[in-house]
């Protein structure tokens, strides 16, 4: 309720509601349009007399629609999220849990890798010159092509399960962290670096007392991007490992069996998971920055 209150008070409630309503209307219209070819074919074969209202009604309750109507996805979601036991293999909560755990592990690994690389780049000139082009190149390789290879290679040396999937999340996550942290660690003004020199501070002291705290706002900006990417990475990683579960596996199963509604509900759960994670990182950011700046919130 507090959230709705806040929305109303900030005057964003109506605009947001308008956008949501129009999206749903467009979705319903799209469902009629996209399913019409199939339906009209069937009407003609059976010689049924039809008008637009019958077309719409039929389009919104098809068993295998091209585009399911919102309420059909809603029903599927209720069935797979609320009605099924969490431990059931047909529960989306169960699959979301699998995806979430590999996302979070990949996010943690990617963040650590990103910070480590950024420290190397900032402190070692050779690394600055040699690493950055490779880091950028790594992100131009399509992850969809790379993911199965990583899974197969790691699988062949006996590493299976959660870890290989996390590696793919990590692969996507570390990049924004490197870029943000390099910028953050270099953000202290020259005057502050000179000042540290007048204190004859050691490099370790300069790092922990100046560069690291100065980089925190940049780190959080990167983490918000990285956490969303980690979910993408985990889902992509689950596609080639089909049978093992996870939202990616549900997407794959859905497309095997032409269960478009199943795909849509997995997609929606995936985006809810992403949204929750981004919000959580955003909350952490506010808390961290507030503590860092004594009550003043400064965003980068």
């Amino acid at each position: 309720m507090t959230m709705i209150n806040r929305l109303v008070h900030q005057g964003t409630f109506l605009p947001v509601l308008t956008v949501v309503t129009s999206l749903i209307v467009i979705w319903y219209a799209g469902a009629v349009y996209l399913n019409s070819t199939q339906l009209i074919d069937r009407y003609q074969k059976k010689g049924v007399d039809w008008d637009i209202s019958r077309l719409a009604q039929d389009a919104w309750k098809m068993e295998r629609p091209v585009l399911p109507a919102p309420h059909q996805v809603g029903v599927e979601l209720k069935k797979t999220v609320i009605d099924k036991r969490v431990t059931s293999k047909r529960s989306l909560v169960y699959h979301a849990g699998i995806t979430l755990s590999s996302s979070l592990l990949g996010f943690a690994l990617g963040t650590l890798l990103g910070i480590a690389l950024a420290i190397g780049i900032v402190y070692v000139t050779t690394l600055d010159r040699s690493l950055m082009p490779w880091i950028i190149a790594s992100q131009t390789v399509p992850i969809l092509a790379l993911a199965p290879m990583i899974i197969v290679v790691l699988g062949s040396i006996g590493i299976t399960g959660l870890f290989p999937k996390s590696v793919i999340s990590m692969y996507l996550c570390f990049f924004p962290v490197v870029v943000g942290m390099v910028k953050g660690l270099r953000s202290p003004e020259p005057i502050l670096i000179d000042q540290m020199r007048t204190y004859s501070a050691s490099p370790t002291q300069v790092f922990f007392k100046l560069r690291l705290p100065a980089s925190i706002p940049f780190l959080f900006a990167s983490l918000k991007v990285a956490i969303a990417l980690s979910v993408v990475g985990a889902i992509v990683a689950e596609l080639p490992t089909g049978g093992q579960g996870g939202l990616g596996a549900r997407l794959l199963t859905g497309s095997y069996y032409g269960q478009i509604t199943m795909i849509w509900s997995a997609l929606i759960v995936a985006s809810v998971v992403s949204a929750l994670l981004v919000t959580a990182v955003g909350r952490l950011e506010r808390i961290a920055l507030r503590r860092l700046n004594g009550g003043q919130v400064v965003a980068v």
């Binding site: 003004e189 005057i191 502050l192 000179d194 000042q195 540290m196 020199r197 007048t198 204190y199 004859s200 501070a201 002291q205 007392k209 100046l210 705290p213 860092l292 700046n293 004594g294 009550g295 003043q296 400064v298």
Partner: protein
């Protein structure tokens, strides 16, 4: 530490000190043939137009730049050794406070770095914040203070190291005149109380004459000393002294020196 101390009480001693920066347009003579002896307890102002090397000279003393010719000694040793023995406190043009530290923790920063005990840190912090009239602001963050207060925190921080030599690079340059007058007076009182040696960079004539026991006038291209004026005004001064003939006479001589430096520039 094998260098001999050449001048008994000179805190800073330079002979034929020069500094060349190499740039794409050829070498720039930032400093040329600077011969300067600064005695303990002096308040010396370096004044000159921008580009005259006054800040560069201060940075050479602080070992933030390295000279390319001549000699310089700080406390009888090289600037590097002096810096490593924490011989000076440096106040920058900007307050250079850490936004994530309270006033108290900003003042304690150099002390933490130098490994001063916690108890001693707290004591010195309280002592020097009182000295700059900021007692009671310990737990504020820099953004909660005015520009003048921030610069006072930065002075307290430089003093907390308890250096014998205080290097100040246009510390009040960014402040309005009223605040600047006020801080000048406070700084003078501070100098009277502590007896430190101060090297003060400024481009304000009244500020230089009001504060200093000696004014060194510099001119640009190459950065050099063109006049060295001692101000034998009484050490106890108030802002009113700026209306006296003695003050105006010294200010006039500084202005003449600056003009001479400039006509040089226009040739």
């Amino acid at each position: 530490m094998t260098q001999t101390v050449r001048t008994g009480s000179a805190v800073v001693h330079t002979s034929d000190l020069s500094l060349e920066f190499s740039t794409d347009d050829g070498p720039v003579h930032a400093l040329a043939n600077i011969n300067l002896d600064i005695a303990a307890g002096e308040f010396i102002s370096l004044i000159g137009p921008s580009g005259c090397g006054k800040t560069t000279l201060l940075r050479v003393i602080a070992d933030l730049e390295t000279h390319t010719g001549g000699e310089i000694q700080v406390n009888g040793v090289s600037p590097r050794e002096a810096r490593e023995s924490r011989a000076y406190g440096y106040v920058f043009q900007a307050p250079a406070l850490y936004p994530w530290r309270t006033v108290r923790r900003n003042v304690m920063l150099p002390l933490e770095i130098m490994g001063v005990s916690r108890q001693e840190r707290e004591a010195r912090c309280a002592q020097y914040l009182d000295l700059v009239n900021l007692g009671g602001f310990e737990n504020k963050y820099p953004w909660q203070l005015s520009g003048g207060m921030q610069q006072r925190v930065s002075i307290a921080r430089a003093l907390s190291v308890e250096p014998e030599l205080l290097l100040m690079d246009e510390p009040f340059g960014a402040l309005d005149e009223i605040t600047r007058d006020h801080l000048n007076q406070q700084l003078l009182e501070l100098w009277g109380k502590t007896g430190k040696t101060v090297v003060f960079v400024t481009h304000s004539i009244p500020e230089a004459v009001f504060l200093s026991s000696r004014v060194v006038v510099m001119s640009p291209r190459p950065g050099q000393v063109i006049d060295d004026i001692s101000c034998n005004l009484p050490r106890e001064r108030t802002l009113d002294i700026r209306e006296t003939p003695e003050f105006l006479e010294i200010a006039h001589r500084v202005r003449e020196g600056l003009k001479a430096g400039h006509s040089y520039d226009d040739d």
